[in-house]
Chain length 332, copies 2
Amino acid sequence: MWPLYGVHKEAFLKAVWLENKTLIYRDNLPLPEPLEGEALVKVRQAGICGTDLELLKGYYPFSGIPGHEFVGEIVQAPKQPDRIGERVVGEINVNCGSCPSCLAGRPNHCEKRTVLGIKHRDGAFAEYVCLPLANLITVPDVVSDDAAIFTEPLAAALEIQKQIKIESPERVLVLGAGRLGQLIAQSLVHTGCGLSVVARYANQRKLLAQLNIACIAEYTPAAGLFDIVIEATGSTDGFIAARGAVRPGGTIVLKSTYPGDVQVNLSSIVVDEVTMVGSRCGPLAPALRLIATQMLDPTVLIEGRYSLKAVQNAFEHARRPGTLKVIFQISE
Amino acid sequence: MWPLYGVHKEAFLKAVWLENKTLIYRDNLPLPEPLEGEALVKVRQAGICGTDLELLKGYYPFSGIPGHEFVGEIVQAPKQPDRIGERVVGEINVNCGSCPSCLAGRPNHCEKRTVLGIKHRDGAFAEYVCLPLANLITVPDVVSDDAAIFTEPLAAALEIQKQIKIESPERVLVLGAGRLGQLIAQSLVHTGCGLSVVARYANQRKLLAQLNIACIAEYTPAAGLFDIVIEATGSTDGFIAARGAVRPGGTIVLKSTYPGDVQVNLSSIVVDEVTMVGSRCGPLAPALRLIATQMLDPTVLIEGRYSLKAVQNAFEHARRPGTLKVIFQISE
């Protein structure tokens, strides 16, 4: 079936490789071959996410090619050759379809899932990546590559509204205005809720100010003023602030993943009848539809653009406090 | 206004007194006098609850007369003398009516609330107790005193169904089959859900078996089998078991209050998208209506009956592992 669109069987794959908490650029990896039902995607761009930084710190013991936010082009699709040439983004959870979670309609919680660039599946910081055709969603022409790479993180932001109802009179606090916090804030604007964002860095506040979203540099715990608090700081301190900011009977949405445990006074959660909602990935198609409306512009978050070869610089940039989105430009 | 129904101004109040983690019987306390809008209630029976045992251990720094589960008779009601003679149970949260929580329709979370026998208000382990008339609900004749004292804890059980929807196909695990766990189990039967209860003691299992409720002596963590797990063990171990038992995307309802923090891996809560719901007091009127149907019999939980004078024996009994309900018989 090889080769198509300039893929040569004898060539090697260029990619970022993660092993033992170290990232390296490699140009000698074997080219991936799509399994039954999968497609081979030529990656155009890929974004660095907070989870990638956590993987590097050892949050999850992943070795291989990281990267799960991407836009690319289908170059091989044995089962559906008519899809070759499609520009696509990809659902990162690859499920088995037959475990109790899959059969109960919760494929994102498949017990045997692999997760692109996170768990048992090489990711998108590479020239080519494989994913099942069912995971690949066509990007409309109106959506640029720069915007398309935000489909996956915006889906994670929209997951919040899939899990809880946010009503317009409610006071909502987003803690953290980094990569994910900004997308959450933008996605919540349309609920009409009373939105405030804690944004530690001036560049973060500037973006929010452009949308007239109320923001403060530091949250001083007052006694539970907010109906809903969304914790997207990426740090354990965020939970403590969230707990202080939520009103009795209110809801804390947890978005941060980091290594280690947090000391929680569960009795006070009972007495104050607080609800805590863990929130991870969301559905990609709605996120892509929202981007296509152009009523929301995620591309304002892009602050750096690097080649795969410049992986050290790219991650050094992404790690800098206050940095928003850093992306790899892999092909045109 | 004094005296009525055998209350004499010159008399002293007999009551259980809690101070410095010690309980004593006292017969020399001043008789309580109802404030504006309050009634004086002659207590007939009062139940010992897990919270009383925790107060004794210092969970909350309360000094005074404990006790919040009671049935009694109104003997003085300056604002509504026609209510004198009514047999009543009482809503334990006394709210201010004017703070943001009260004005938002969440009186149980009143910022200035006093709580009967728990917080800034003497409780019902006494011959007489004061509560606002608005807190007192008439007990129908069909409900015995023995059944009526379960109104408050049954309301706490019903609070769960006020907070979350429990659908009939769902697999629900109740962890702990003590005082509260039994009432939760009984109240869930009518949802038709797939109910299992972890009941450590033979007497607890016997009661559940009489209702054909599936129960096991010890929960061996399998991988997240339950849609909903209700943690009512009263111990920190309960949370760990609950976390192990809930499926990804499922809900843990927290009912236990105890001193100290618990180590929680919040990242795994995010990845598995688990929801945790703190649950405290519920509305009394629905609980009393349910008891009045006699489709549920809480009195099977009563294992001991003591006078106020025998407070040491009563609490020693209540503290014994596996004990269900111990009550004070205060007047007839």
